[in-house]
């Protein structure tokens, strides 16, 4: 996945046929972070903080539901990808890139959490038919994130 050009705020990426399939397969797994996983505070334990934690959990759950709906609409848009001789062109504006980064990182971090949050080596888990797809998903989500982040850097467009 390479950035081809940045014109009037629109980023055009080139993806090989296989990269497109991989991107769709990764996005299909959203969301992966378990609900109520993210604490608002490490120290607070009052009734008020419990209420605040519940409100945060609800807001994050709503955010993920909205992202899921947007993702479905986004993927159903047949003009999202344009076929070329060597693969596909993907057109994204900055807002869509920002949103895709959130979606991809939920998938990456969620995979890692489900794998037991290995600390020193991300692949420090028992490899089997359940964990291998998660490890693969974690790596691929990160790979697409890196491509998007590189495109946002000054000089990212060639």
């Amino acid at each position: 996945m390479n950035l081809l050009k940045l014109e009037n705020g629109d980023f055009t990426f080139h993806l090989s046929k296989r990269e497109k399939l991989l991107l769709l397969a990764v996005l299909d797994r959203y969301p992966l972070i378990p609900s109520r996983h993210q604490p608002l505070s490490k120290s607070a334990a009052s009734a008020e903080s419990e209420t605040d934690q519940r409100l945060l959990d609800e807001a994050l759950a709503e955010h993920r539901q909205e992202n899921k709906r947007r993702l479905q609409t986004w993927l159903e848009n047949e003009q999202r990808f344009t076929k070329t001789d060597s693969g596909w062109h993907l057109l994204l504006n900055r807002s869509e890139i920002e949103w895709l980064l959130q979606v991809l990182n939920d998938i990456r971090v969620g995979s890692w959490i489900i794998l037991g949050s290995p600390e020193k080596d991300l692949w420090d888990f028992t490899l089997n038919e359940k964990t291998a797809p998660l490890g693969w998903t974690m790596e691929m989500a990160g790979w697409f994130e890196a491509a998007l982040l590189e495109a946002l850097q000054p000089g990212g467009a060639t």
């Binding site: 608002l40 971090v109 982040l149």
Partner: protein, 102 residues
């Protein structure tokens, strides 16, 4: 060239003032980002720039603090603003919390 990053707008907290205790309005809450091995350094830097509207150098400074020291205090805010920032950071799946500064 990529465009500059636009910070997210902090909501108006004026309406909350009558319902929150006074302590919640004072800048007594620290927004902290904690280290984890899964988030890319470039990603963390990008999120700090986006959420706080910081220049890249400042965002990189805090990212490195997280990476090398295990955590970084990103800002000191009222309860409402701290909650807002923690929510924004968690939307990006960063490990962020708010702690009362005692």
């Amino acid at each position: 060239m990529a465009e500059s990053v636009t910070p997210e707008v902090v909501p108006d907290v004026g309406q909350e003032e009558q319902t929150r205790p006074k302590s919640g309005l004072e800048p007594g809450y620290l927004v902290i980002c904690w280290n984890d091995p899964v988030n890319y350094m470039d990603y963390v830097t990008h999120v700090f720039q986006t959420v706080f509207g910081w220049p890249r150098k400042k965002a990189e400074f805090h990212m490195l603090q997280v990476h090398e020291q295990g955590k970084s205090v990103l800002t000191r805010e009222s309860m409402e603003k701290a909650e807002h920032y923690v929510h924004q950071l968690q939307k990006y799946s960063l490990h962020a919390t708010m702690e009362h500064d005692q």
